[in-house]
């Protein structure tokens, strides 16, 4: 159901207000990013799914009920009682450069191995260009700030050697998922599943996989 932009802004502030009651600002911004990317266009019932995801992500499973109450309370508040909008620069809730240390050790290497393994199989099928184009066309859906999105685009096209840390864990997950979706469209879901499974197997042999499981990015 379409929601007008004013109502969407109000909900955004309400979610941020609710999250801030149990999290520090950086974590709340990341949670808000998740909500914007995956839940802002969904019906109100989807709040439960969002709650489950954010509790898992922030390690707040034990305080799920508390957070639920805080979110419901915030959603019913008047605009005047809500926390200020965290601002457009944080939209997408990818951690800013200053928050980059929040990316777990080994995550970037593991991601690059997974992505590389997936793309290698797609190169063999001569569809890697199509997949890259599809991913770049959908990057905006990850909610990354424009500058960061440009850096990610450079990495996808091979103009940059490494992804910026600032893309964040959710960003890495989102990017891998976009690649999987594009692979499904190019070679079908059966082949895409096989390629992804093979990429996981290869990645799990890396030393970094000992400290950061590739399955955390699936």
């Amino acid at each position: 159901m379409a929601v007008d932009s004013r109502e969407l802004r109000r909900r955004r502030r309400a979610i941020f207000t609710g999250l801030c009651s149990l999290m520090d600002e950086a974590a709340a911004r990341e949670g808000l990013g998740l909500w914007e990317r995956e839940f802002s266009d969904k019906p109100v019932y989807a709040l439960h799914d969002f709650l489950a995801r954010i509790c898992r992500q922030a390690g707040l499973e034990a305080r799920r009920g508390e957070l639920h109450r805080a979110l419901v309370r915030a959603l019913s508040l008047d605009e005047a009682d809500l926390a200020p909008d965290p601002g457009p620069s944080d939209r997408g809730a990818v951690p800013a450069a200053s928050a980059s240390p929040s990316l777990p050790p080994g995550a970037l290497t593991v991601f690059e191995s997974l992505y590389g393994g997936l793309m290698e199989g797609l190169v063999q099928r001569q569809v890697e260009t199509g997949v890259r184009v599809r991913v770049m066309q959908r990057l905006v859906g990850l909610g990354l700030p424009a500058g960061l999105r440009g850096q990610v685009t450079d990495w996808i096209t091979g103009e940059a050697a490494h992804l910026p840390q600032a893309v964040g864990l959710e960003g890495l997950r989102g990017l891998l998922h976009l690649t999987y979706v594009a692979a499904c469209e190019e070679v079908g879901p059966v082949s895409a599943d096989r390629l992804l499974a093979e990429a996981v197997r290869v990645t799990e042999k890396l030393g970094e996989a000992e400290v950061f499981s590739p399955r955390a990015l699936l």
Binding site: P43, Y45, H177, P189, S213, A216, L218
Partner: protein, 439 residues
């Protein structure tokens, strides 16, 4: 189907006294009831057989799905029976079999309590039919439907969509007559009432959902997504076949000598369904897949359901042969239209059910090819489609816009077993593509 009808012949009475002395004794000493004891026993057995079909559906549908969605498919089959049974008891049975003065829907016997034993037996037997109708959609919509949204649909189907049409064709057991029944519409055990209605609902669900991620290529080319366990599919097919002996045999409404013909026709038509698919695939020079063969025999079972009691065995064979061919052709037609029916339910239940209902009119014993009867059958088939398809389309559309029917692409990637249920069916070989999740 008339559940009030008692066909307790002397021969059956002797058999009953020999085989079921305790039952007949109970019947003598118990309160008077419109359904005799032996009829009750047969209906109870038949109801159990029809319930067993749920296991067949679960095995067949999960086997035709990928491993990462197997639990979700089984859960849908399991729980739609649970919620559907409650909805049918509360609302559906009354709408279908309650007092029906207008011919359009029943108006009594909701949340049945304080009734006669025969009523309870009828309710149980009919609940199994409702459960069959509702579960047909689950396979068609597999691998990309949100669990809660599917269940909401299942409740509405068993509470409203299925029983309203049922009241037209089979109503009523408690006074009044459905408008289709009054025209002389023949649908003995529900080729249209149960199976086509389920098939049209499935078609609506498939349309609203859209195909699975990557099922069709950019230029519309088909990409087969094979099931993860074909042995399971075959076992599901066998179980459905067994269950159908209760489905059709129980639709006599009691222990009856006609069950021999009915179940023979059922068996022959199922066998002919598979044979029909073999013949058509040979003509088309296509490989004979297990999934197609099993689906074609199910098509044969669906097809004979309308006329199992009213046609001779050679016509049951014809009905089954054509049903099997329809399943093959229908599946291809749907694919060419870009519709992703995971298990081929629309062809096996919707299309084969429509043909079977027509065949029941064409091959009516003692009145073959009567154009008036055929016209009535056509009206019944068309009415079933015009009722169930738009209603289901509207229902799934509204569910999609409110609760959300389609799972996200991330859920499709991870598999609905994990994303909807936090468990997986095959932890050993699924571990490598499993999201880390809670662990």
């Amino acid at each position: 189907m008339t559940l009030h009808r008692s066909r307790f012949t002397p021969l059956m009475l002797i058999t009953a006294l020999c085989l079921f002395p305790a039952v007949t004794q109970a019947a003598e000493s118990g309160p008077p009831d419109w359904l005799p004891a032996l009829d009750t026993v047969w209906l109870a057995v038949a109801a159990a057989l029809v319930f067993f079909m749920q296991a067949g559906f679960a095995l067949l549908e999960s086997g035709m799905s990928r491993a990462k969605n197997a639990v979700n498919v089984v859960m849908k089959n399991y729980v739609d029976v649970c919620l559907g049974s409650l909805a049918f008891w509360l609302v559906g049975y009354g709408l279908m079999f309650g007092f029906n003065p207008t011919g359009w829907f029943g108006q009594s016997h909701f949340a049945l309590i304080g009734a006669e034993n025969g009523d309870y037996m009828a309710l149980l037997f009919q609940t199994m039919f409702a459960a069959t109708a509702v579960t047909i959609a689950s396979g068609a919509m597999a691998e990309r439907t949100r669990y809660q949204a599917y269940l909401l649909g299942a409740v509405l189907i068993t509470a409203i969509i299925y029983p309203v049409y049922g009241s037209w064709a089979w109503g009523s057991a408690h006074g009044g007559e459905g408008w289709l029944a009054s025209l002389g519409f023949i649908d003995f055990a529900g080729s249209t009432v149960v199976h086509s209605i389920g098939g049209w609902v499935a078609l609506a669900g498939v349309i609203v959902l859209g195909p699975r991620l990557g099922r069709f290529g950019p230029n519309g080319e088909r990409r087969p997504i094979h099931g993860h366990n074909l042995t399971q599919v075959a076992l599901g097919g066998f179980i459905l076949w067994v269950g159908w002996f209760g489905f059709n045999g129980g639709s006599t409404g009691g222990a009856d000598v006609s069950i021999g013909l009915i179940n023979l026709n059922t068996h022959l038509s199922a066998a002919a369904g598979a044979a029909g698919a073999l013949i058509l695939l040979a003509i088309l020079r296509q490989p004979v897949l297990l999934t197609t063969t099993v689906n074609a025999s199910i098509g044969g079972l669906v097809g004979i359901t309308a006329g199992a009691a009213t046609m001779d065995p050679h016509f049951a064979v014809v009905t089954g042969l054509v049903s099997g061919m329809i399943v093959v052709a229908g599946t291809r037609l749907l694919e060419s239209l870009g519709l992703d029916d995971v298990v081929g339910a629309v062809s096996a239940h919707g299309l084969a059910g429509a043909w079977g209902t027509l065949a029941a009119g064409l091959f009516l014993a003692g009145d073959l090819f009567n154009p008036m009867q055929v016209a009535v059958q056509m009206i019944g088939i068309l009415a079933g489609f015009l009722w169930a398809f738009p209603m289901a389309l509207l229902m799934y559309f509204l569910i999609d816009r409110t609760v959300g029917l389609r799972a996200s692409t991330l859920d499709e990637q991870r598999g609905l077993d994990f994303s909807e249920h936090y468990e997986i069916g095959y932890p050993e070989f699924q571990a490598d593509v499993l999201h880390k999740g809670k662990g």
